[in-house]
Amino acid sequence: MKKELIELRVNGRKHELAIEPSELLLDVLRQELDFTGSKRGCDDSSCGACTVLVDGVPTLSCTMLAMSCASDEQDGPDITTVEGIADHGALAAIQKAYGDWGGAQCGFCTPGFMVTVKALLDRNPEPSEEEIRHALSGNLCRCTGYTQMYQAIKAAIEAEQANR
């Protein structure tokens, strides 16, 4: 398939690249731009390991064409991967908390969770336990049983509030 030149806006920077129109956003992020934080854990959009934010909305990058995020006359959507979550070169509160509270074991699903939790806390800074569970339900983890993630999220919320 013939390649086309497109521009993607990822983690606040513009990237110009030549891709086949059939390429998935996940593959372009991982293989062309070397943002390998987003993972492929399944083939049927069931695991959530590839979650990125597209204009702030958690989106499975394994089922989205990279072309659909390209800029045309107007800028394309803002894509945020896990690499764009760190806070000025240091861990963001949620990243720190996931480390401290054991929210990440093998870490393969963690980038997806980081992005999902960021989106949750951006739109709802004080979610209830029910809301947290609901928000996380699209991301699968095989290590933690999720319990320590809830502790981490609570700790991150407290840390954010203490900083404010």
């Binding site: 854990g41 509270w101 074991q105 393969f108 947290i132 699968l140 290590c143 049983g145 999720y146």
Partner: protein, 858 residues
């Protein structure tokens, strides 16, 4: 001040920042220049002879570099020396739907996929075996000709006098239990990258480097050597971050060998990554197990004898099968005091993907049967379920009837704690209708006392290097697969040397750099690699202390080391150290690279500047910094290195009978659990409200990790108890995806409360034992027992799906005496069920198969 300065503290995993930022690299995140992609062609038939493979059309596709087939690497291998029955790609026969037939190496994944469709394979179908009990009766068309009747291995063990034991019993119970087949489904699909480098002397391809998602890099090196006929010293295996294993990466998986063979043929680096469906075919999970369990007990609750006949549906290759079937029998012992044991185990081959080792290896399904039946005996004798377990406790230190040595034994405390935390006595009798609580216990080895390949070699060795900058580099062969072994090693060395974690860098699981460690399986790493780390730390500490003793004019045993300070015993411990250590602990949460640079630079400047000046003409002093002590030791002995290794003691290695090698361990972990459930009697749906799990891990080196491992084990047990099951139809897996396999999500996962019990093992590193597997087995029977407590029905087949629960409830209401769902006694509707896997497909009336469905027979 607490006894320890580093261990026992809640610390973040040393590699956690790499995981939360996405900077950490897993195998599939790696690439090397000129790298090609490999894609594997899988068998559409469960059992067939390959008559012809024509790859010419595939090879002609633009962008295809080569196609690899069985004859390119026909040497057999397997994880067990007795089970070398696999080849990289099928040589003569395919043995399951998904077996590996050929591999296309191409410039891109899409080209490789297109080429796969152009490979022409001519098969001659053979009769296939799907049910282990049928398979055992096979007279011909055996899956492996060297395994008559498709029996991979059978064992018949008798300990004590079971006949006498049953004769003495006041009550004897006998039932059949069945546990469905489950798989690890680690989040990271397997991936391997293989690359040869050209030898400078010969100008020909020489050394091979393999990056792979493996729990056992040294076994991979060994098996690659067998298949490629390359000396082990020419093979370097590197384990990057691994996205979960649970046993699914604890042996050599076909793609690891195929990638290397493909790289050799393609003369270029090759990466192969499994799709999720391929992960299910690679499998090596927990076999469907049929357990005929018989327990005898006195009126007072004392057990007199246990007899178990276990049949495991092992799939098409041996894998770990011989070990699995032995574990099922061996770990009938070492939990309770059982005077007489009879065990008959059959590991049977069937035309399905190979089963292997999965978390709680071999013990889980038998424990489900045992703990369920113990509950039935307790009910019959009108003894509280907790009490009957207390009555049958071991009295350690002791040797069990089947030659297992038990030393530390935290089970009594686990039972006490779980009872008080769950409110067992207060709440259980007052629960609303259809709500119940159940209890069960389990245990697991802290590593096998005998390695797979029998030798006197230590099971773990660890090296330490310390240079003038005061940085400590630990070289360990332990494979961190997310359980936190790198952190465990760092904590132990830091504790021994009296330094902060920020000073330590762990280099792990690289066969060129790190000393041999047999791998991350059977929960051996904390106990064995931890002990090796402890000894390596002590080795290097001795050298530092000797030099510091000269400086401080005291005996080496009077040199104290803690919180990055070194001082003379009896003098005041230098102040501000505690604060310094706290800072170090805080710093380790930041990304690893920057921390080391920060601390190294600051301390390095101190060294080069005022410190060296001060050293010149100083007299004896009472204290010094860790750097000063290190520099004085290097001045004294040259390069500062230490090494330590661990081999299990002889008296922990078990008996002399055939099969005695599996089961013995230097130490056992213990778990007691209570589950609380509600059963919807209309729909059969079971809701688990909460599980309380008390786990004896000896000592919690890092409580965050211990809790994570215990909760994760319980959660995985919940999955097996409630919803996870591989469903087969004529050898075709019906649910090869995370969604269809029903891996529980956040909304389906109840709260799990972990209670840590520390029995301080006499031989564990600082008393530590395993924490990652022992808790899984108790969860399934705890839930079964809770369902019984709630609605009075006994579930003898896992998982406890609404269909099975409802069938049991209906059977109870129609006052049928027994219900055996797999035997077709379900009074509700179907009369005959399929005997294998998802037993709810009944014969002849399963879903209509598509015309192209490969399992459809003419």
């Amino acid at each position: 001040m607490s006894e320890f300065s580093v261990i026992g503290k809640r610390v973040a995993l040393v590699d956690s920042a790499g995981k939360t930022t996405g900077q950490g690299k897993y195998t599939d995140d790696l690439s090397v220049p000129g790298m090609l992609t490999g894609k594997i062609l899988h068998s559409p038939y469960p059992h067939a002879r390959i008559k012809k493979i024509d790859t010419s059309k595939a090879e002609a596709v633009d962008g295809v570099v080569c196609v690899v087939t069985g004859p390119d690497a026909p040497n057999k291998y397997g994880i067990l020396p007795v089970g070398h029955d696999e080849t990289a790609l099928a040589v003569e026969k395919v043995r399951y739907v998904g077996d590996n037939v050929a591999c296309v190496v191409a410039e891109s994944e899409s080209i490789a996929e297109r080429a796969l469709e152009l490979i022409e394979v001519e098969y001659e179908q053979l009769p296939a075996w799907f049910d282990p009990e049928d398979s055992m009766k096979a007279e011909k068309d055996w899956i492996h000709p060297q395994r008559p009747n498709n029996i991979e291995k059978d064992y018949h063990h008798v300990f004590g006098d079971p006949g006498k034991g049953f004769a003495e019993a006041d009550v004897v119970m006998e039932h059949r239990y069945i546990a469905g087949e489950v798989t690890h489904a680690a989040m990271e699909p397997h991936c391997t990258l293989a690359s040869f480098e050209i030898d400078s002397q010969t100008g020909q391809p020489g050394r091979l480097t393999v990056w792979s998602s493996t729990q056992v890099p040294y076994y991979l090196q060994h098996k690659l050597s067998i298949v490629l006929e390359l000396p082990m010293q020419q093979i370097r295996v590197i384990k990057p971050l691994v996205g979960g294993g649970f046993g699914g990466k604890s042996e050599v998986i076909p793609l690891e060998i195929i990638a290397a063979v493909a790289a050799r043929k393609a003369k270029a680096p090759v990466k192969i990554t499994y799709t999720r469906e391929e992960v299910f075919w690679a499998h090596r999970g927990r076999p469907r197990t049929i357990i005929d369990m018989k327990i005898g007990a006195k009126k007072d609750g004392h057990l007199t004898a246990v007899a178990a006949k276990v049949i495991q549906d092992g799939g098409a290759y041996c894998s770990y099968g011989v070990v699995t079937i032995l574990y099922s029998g061996a770990l009938l012992g070492a939990l309770y005091d059982i005077p007489n044991i009879k065990y008959d185990g059959y590991r049977v081959l069937t035309n399905k993907p190979a089963c292997g080792a999965m978390r709680g290896h071999g013990t889980v399904n038998v424990r489900f049967a045992f703990e369920s039946q113990l509950d039935e005996i307790a009910a019959k004798l009108d003894i509280d379920p907790a009490e009957i377990r207390r009555i049958n406790l071991l009295k350690p230190p002791c040797i069990t009837v089947n030659n297992l040595r038990v030393q530390s034994y935290g089970l009594p405390e686990c039972i006490d704690k779980v009872i008080s935390r769950s409110g067992w006595h207060e709440r259980r009798s007052k629960l609303p209708p259809a709500r119940g609580m159940g209890m069960a216990c389990s245990h697991y080895v802290s590593g096998a006392a005998n390695s797979i390949i029998r030798s006197d070699m230590p099971h773990s060795t660890v090296n330490i290097k310390i240079d003038r900058d005061g940085g400590v580099v630990v070289y360990t062969g332990a494979s961190d697969i997310g359980q936190g072994s790198d952190t465990m090693v760092a904590q132990i060395v830091a504790e021994v040397l009296g330094i902060g974690l920020g000073r330590i860098r762990v280099i792990a699981a690289d066969t060129d750099l790190t000393p041999i460690d047999i791998g991350s399986y059977s929960s051996r790493v904390t106990f064995m690699n931890g002990n090796a780390s402890l000894r390596a730390g002590q080795d290097v500490r001795k050298k530092i202390a000797a030099a510091a003793a000269v400086k401080m004019n005291c005996a080496p045993e009077d040199v104290m080391m803690r919180d990055d300070r070194v001082w003379k015993r009896g003098t005041a411990e230098p102040a501000t150290n505690g604060a310094h250590a706290e800072q170090m602990l805080e710093k380790i949460d930041a990304p690893r690279g920057s921390v080391r640079e920060v601390s190294g630079r600051v301390e390095g400047q101190t060294l080069r500047g005022s410190l060296q000046q001060k050293r010149k003409d100083e007299g004896p002093k009472d204290s010094m910094s860790f750097e000063e002590a290190v520099v004085s030791a290097i001045d004294f002995t040259g390069a500062l290195t230490g090494t330590g290794s661990y081999a299990p003691p002889k008296d922990a290695r078990g008996g002399a009978f055939k099969g005695a090698g599996v089961g013995p361990s230097p130490a056992y972990s213990y778990s007691a659990q209570v589950a609380e459930v509600t059963v919807d009697e209309e729909t059969g749906e079971v809701k688990v409200h909460k599980v309380w799990a008390a786990h004896d891990c000896g000592r919690a080196l890092n409580p965050v990790s211990v809790e994570g491992q215990v909760i994760g084990s319980v959660w995985m047990g919940l999955g097996q108890a409630m919803q996870e099951e591989m469903v087969w139809k004529d050898g075709l897996l019906m649910n090869p995806g995370m969604l269809e396999y029903k891996s529980p999500s956040a909304t389906e996962s109840p709260e799990v409360e972990c209670i840590i019990v520390e029995s301080v093992d006499p031989e564990g590193p600082f008393g530590a034992k395993e924490a990652s597997e022992g808790s899984l087995a108790a969860t399934i029977p705890a839930i079964a027992n809770a369902i019984y407590d709630a609605v009075g029905v006994r579930l003898r087949e896992a998982p406890f799906t609404p269909e099975r629960v409802l069938a049991a409830i209906k059977a109870k209401h129609s006052e049928k005496k027994a219900l055996d769902i797999t035997r077709g006694d379900d009074p509700v509707t179907p009369t005959t069920f399929r005997e294998h896997g998802g037993s709810l497909w009944f014969k002849g009336k399963g879903p209509q198969r598509h015309a192209d469905d490969p399992s459809r027979r003419a």
